[in-house]
Every structure is written in C-alpha cells, then in structure tokens.
C-alpha cells in the first residue's frame, strides 16, 4: 500500500498544547512523564459515579482560573490546549487554518442529562472552530482510542496534498459516568493504578486529556519535527478483543514506517498503546516483536504512559504524540511506570529505568481501538 505513496509535500509540527492530569501545558505533561511521576490520583470530580477503581487521571481541580462544569471541559480544555499550540506556532493568521477534531464521545450532556450534547464530534468541532476563529471548515472523526493518531494523519494528508498550509489537530476526551461505567461494566478497569506489561496487570486506568498539534507545510515554522509517515490498519479479527498475533498493529506500524520512506532499523524509539489490559499488552508485544523479528532480536526501546496520564481515549493519540516528540527532543526513553515483572513477549524492549539514546532521529507512535482499528505515525527530528 504505502510503497506507491505519491510525491507529496512534507509536513512539519509547528506548535503543541496540552491539558492533562499533570495540569496545564506540554511542559508539565512531558516533565511529569519523563521524571517518572504519575497523575493517577484518587477520584475527586468523578468520585460520585461509584466505579470499581480508586485512581483516575483527572485534570486537577484548580487547573483553570475558574471551575469548569464537567460537560464543558471538552470544549474548554481543547481551547486552552489550542491557544498554547498557536502561541508556539507563532500566532499567524487563522483564516486559512483548518481543524481536525478527534474524540470518542465529545459532549454527552444531552444523553446523560439535560444538556445540548448528543455525543457528536462535529458539534464540538464547530464550537471550537468558531471559538478559535478558524477560517476553514472543521472535520471531526472518531476511530475509538486510535482517534488522535488518525486525526494527525488526516490533517497531515491535507497539507501533503496542498489543500491547505496549516492544520490544527485537536484530540480530547473527558472521563464521565458514561465512560467510567462502560469500562467498569466490561471489567476492564484496574482497581488500582494500571501496570502495563506487568505480569500482575489487571486493566486500564482512565484519564482526562486534550492535546493540540499545529501542523504546517512551512519548515521555517517548524519546531524541528516532521510528521514523516502515517498509516492505518484493521485487525479484521474481533471488534473488541485483540488479534493475539498483533497482526493489525504490526501492519499499521510497518506501513507507517514504509510511508515515511524508512526501514524498521531506522526507528529509535516507540511510544506504545500500553493500556494495561491483559489482552492489549500481550497482542501489542507480539505484534511488534513479530514485525521487528526480521531485523533484530528486540524492538527499539519502547514506553507507554497510561500508568501516568491514564488512558485518555480519543485524546490518547494526541497526548502520546506529544510525548513521542519529547522522546526525540530529549534523546531518551522514560521508564515504564508500574512495570516490575515482565508479563509479555520479551522481544519488546521495555526500559524500567530512563534510557538515554545514542541516536534519536525517528520515533514511532502506535494506537489501537475498538473495531480492530489501528493507527501509527512516524515523527522525525
């Protein structure tokens, strides 16, 4: 598929923004994750929902100047993240800027209450496009927990084809009763803090997140990072469970690397999906282990961050792209928090202490979601 990619314009990262369990800003997020902290704390805002976990990655109370209602958090946190990203990008005119919004459930206030939101991503996308005074019409997509990374690909494609020069990618999800009880009802929540890839792992921890990434066709506006490649795949195996050979995920990863014009051996670090469920982590390790088995005994050093931010669902691809870029900038892979005894395929190289890289040119970000959806992107320094 990707071998026939036509010659298109390069796509650069120009700006970044985030709101997460670590509070405001990309720096707080990246410093928190790379220093080994966790934002998974006892439930406060969501404590009344009575779910079977003690820890979530809520945006801390007091993060914003004034209290924000839970239903308004998707819009407000996205707006804050976008402002940070535009500031880094140089606050150029937004008349020719388009938006791709990624979210799973957006605003559910009209379904779980008397509000206006009926879970439509486009509802939120149009609000944000107006709030941010973006000149081009917005797009909104949902691809479950791979939404964020697929949104990066979708926006990058519009720049690559010359449709526009600048795109804003927003990815957001705020945990609420609907989401917490959904995952809880499926038995997918770890009652404690999640421990991806550990033998004793018992499920996922959830978290709030909003991430903003400004993409541009202009290298002069770049932060020194390029979206070098991207791809998607589907397991076509099961709609909620994984492919135990990790075929779809491996396919997305190898396609994205080929799309970037690179070899597997060019990849210096991987940011994993790493949810902490038995099934996800097992298949992810096998899929990547198989993909790299043709060129190496082990994968490049890899890390997950959901034991620190919580699984931010539709925002995960965005939040974790920021952490992937931070890995390139800092030339290191942070330790995998919660991993004590490896409980998955040993071919996946999972540092348990921070690891300095001798080469940090290309990083792979992968994500998976319900429906067998797989997404991958390669960022290059």
């Amino acid at each position: 598929m990707t071998s026939s990619r036509k010659d298109k314009r390069p796509v650069f990262v120009a700006g970044r923004g985030a709101v997460s369990g670590f509070g405001l800003g990309v720096k707080a997020l990246c410093d928190g994750v790379f220093s080994g902290q966790t934002a998974l704390r006892p439930l406060t805002r969501t404590s009344q929902h009575g779910v079977a976990t003690k820890f979530v990655g809520e945006i801390p109370a007091g993060t914003f100047d004034q209290p924000i209602n839970e239903n308004d958090l998707p819009r407000h946190s996205s707006w804050i993240a976008a402002q940070e990203a535009f500031a880094e990008a140089g606050n150029h005119s937004r008349q020719r800027v388009g938006l791709v919004l990624a979210t799973t459930k957006a605003n559910m206030s009209g379904i779980c209450g008397q509000g206006q939101g009926l879970g439509s991503p486009m509802f939120l996308a149009r609000q944000l496009s107006q709030d941010l005074e973006l000149g081009l019409p917005p797009s909104a997509l949902s691809a479950a927990c791979a939404s964020g990374i697929i949104a990066v690909a979708t926006a990058a494609r519009r720049i690559a084809t010359g449709e526009c020069d600048t795109m804003l990618v927003l990815s957001v999800d705020i945990i609420n009763e609907f989401i917490l009880k959904g995952f809880g009802g499926m038995g997918a929540l770890d009652p404690e803090r999640c421990r991806p890839f550990d033998r004793q792992r018992r499920g996922v921890s959830l978290g709030d997140g909003a991430a903003a990434i400004v993409l541009t066709a202009h290298e002069r506006d770049s932060i020194g990072i390029r979206v070098a490649g991207y791809a998607g795949a589907n397991d076509a195996c099961h709609v909620t469970g994984p492919d135990y050979e990790g075929l779809g995920l491996g396919l997305a990863a190898t396609r994205a690397i080929a799309h970037a014009g690179l070899q597997l051996t060019d990849i210096d670090l991987i940011h994993l999906h790493a949810t902490g469920t038995q099934a996800n982590d097992k298949s992810e390790a096998i899929g990547l282990g198989n993909a790299w088995s043709h060129v190496a005994d082990k994968t490049p050093p890899a890390f997950g961050s959901k034991s620190q931010t919580g699984h931010t669902l539709g925002a995960a691809g965005g939040i974790e792209s920021l952490l992937t870029i931070a890995g390139l900038e800092r030339s290191c892979v942070p330790k995998n928090i919660g991993l004590e005894t490896l409980g998955c395929d040993k071919r996946l190289d999972l540092p348990t202490t921070i690891r300095k890289l001798t080469r940090a040119n290309h990083a792979l970000k992968i994500a998976s979601g319900f429906g067998g959806v797989q997404g991958a992107a390669v960022f290059s320094a």
């Binding site: 598929m1 990707t2 026939s4 990619r5 036509k6 298109k8 459930k105 559910m108 379904i111 779980c112 206006q116 939101g117 009926l118 879970g119 439509s120 991503p121 486009m122 509802f123 996308a125 609000q127 019409p137 797009s139 909104a140 997509l141 949902s142 691809a143 791979a146 697929i150 690909a153 979708t154 494609r157 690559a160 084809t161 449709e163 009763e177 609907f178 009880k181 959904g182 809880g184 009802g185 499926m186 038995g187 791809a231 998607g232 795949a233 589907n234 397991d235 076509a236 195996c237 099961h238 709609v239 909620t240 779809g248 396919l251 979601g369 319900f370 429906g371 067998g372 959806v373 997404g375």
Partner: protein
Amino acid sequence: MKSATILGCGIVDETGIAGTRGITANWSDLQMIAPGTAKTMRTVFGKKDPTFRRIDLLARALVLACEAADLENALSVEQRQETAVCIETDLGALATDIDFAASLSDECVHASIFPYSLTSTSLGELALRYELRGPTMSMSVRDDSIGIEQDPTLAGESLRESLRMLDCGDVEYAVAGVVNTMLEPAAGKPAIMRAVVTILAAHEHGSGIGTLEWPDGSFDPFAQLISMCR
C-alpha cells in the same frame, strides 16, 4: 481535482435494498419491515449468516449495502488488505448511547452494548466480515446545536477523505459512504434507516462503472451513487 473509479454502490433505506449488483427489493417483497428485525437478511443474497443477528443495527445496514454493492466480487481478498473503510454519520451511535445511558442507574450497566457506543466498532464489524485491513475511521457530520441549521456542505466528508487517501497513494481502494440508523425516534431525531456505500479505486487500479468527482458542497454527493443503484 481528485476523483476515483467507482467499482460498485449499494443502498439500504426505508424503501428496501438496491445496488449495482442488480438486486432491487423492497421490504414488503422481502416480507420484512426493516433490517433491524430478527430474520437473517443476508439470505437475500444467497448467504447463510448465523452471526448477522449478533451485530448492531448500524453494522447490519452497512453489511447489506456492501452486499448490494457486490463488494466480495468487486475486490479480491488481496485487494481488500489494502482497502480503507471511511463512513460518515449524522447520528453516530446515538441509539446505542441512549440505551446504554438508560442503564447507568441500574445495578449492572448494559456492558455488552457499550463498545457499540463507538461507531468504529460497527465499522470493525464490516472490516471483520470482508477482511478489510486498511485504515478505518468514521467521520461525524452532525451538529447538535439548537437553532443552527445543519450544514449541507458537510455531506460527503467520507467521500472527500477517501479521495484524499486514494490521491495520495495511501490506499489503493476504499469503502466509503454514509450510515444513519435509529428504529425509534429519540432525542428529537426521527427514526431513520439509511446506508449508502460505494467501493472506490484509484484510477490506475481498475475500470469501473463510473467516476466519483470531488464533492464540492454544491450538490448532494450521494445522489449520483443512489441513482446508480436504482
């Protein structure tokens, strides 16, 4: 301007099923009221499918539309490894959202339907049945804002995104279209049953039955596809 070769089209709506495969049947012909009923509708296409009733309404409508479009003959198994699924929706999984939300106050929530509150799960059913291993995504084209008219230029998002993917060479084939299903009116929305799909190929990968031009917002992009079905 981006365009692609149309290899097939299918439609499922309140009238019945039709497609470029050559089947045109209304629901009374089929002695059924809608694909939401318990009968195994794929028998219409000469296939026994005991698991069809397991899948949600959204996926059922899409599977039937793909059958009407003759997807399995339009694309070989090898070609389907390279096929994207890009479907747009106004309602998304609203009916499932409402059902699941109604269980939130129960002792046990309706966990088995929770994954179907994501439209990507329904698209995954499609990918699973036809072994479509390209990228999968749903595009949202509904705006719930009270007092704001729906923007007709949004229609065709899935077609535009598919054309972009084909134009870039990111995929060679795509299954694109629209789906909206809700058996009963809810949340101020009327009952609806409609799925339109088209199977697209980059021009260099096939001679088809027509050409899909870039939907620029000045016309209903699905009208051409529907006219090819009936």
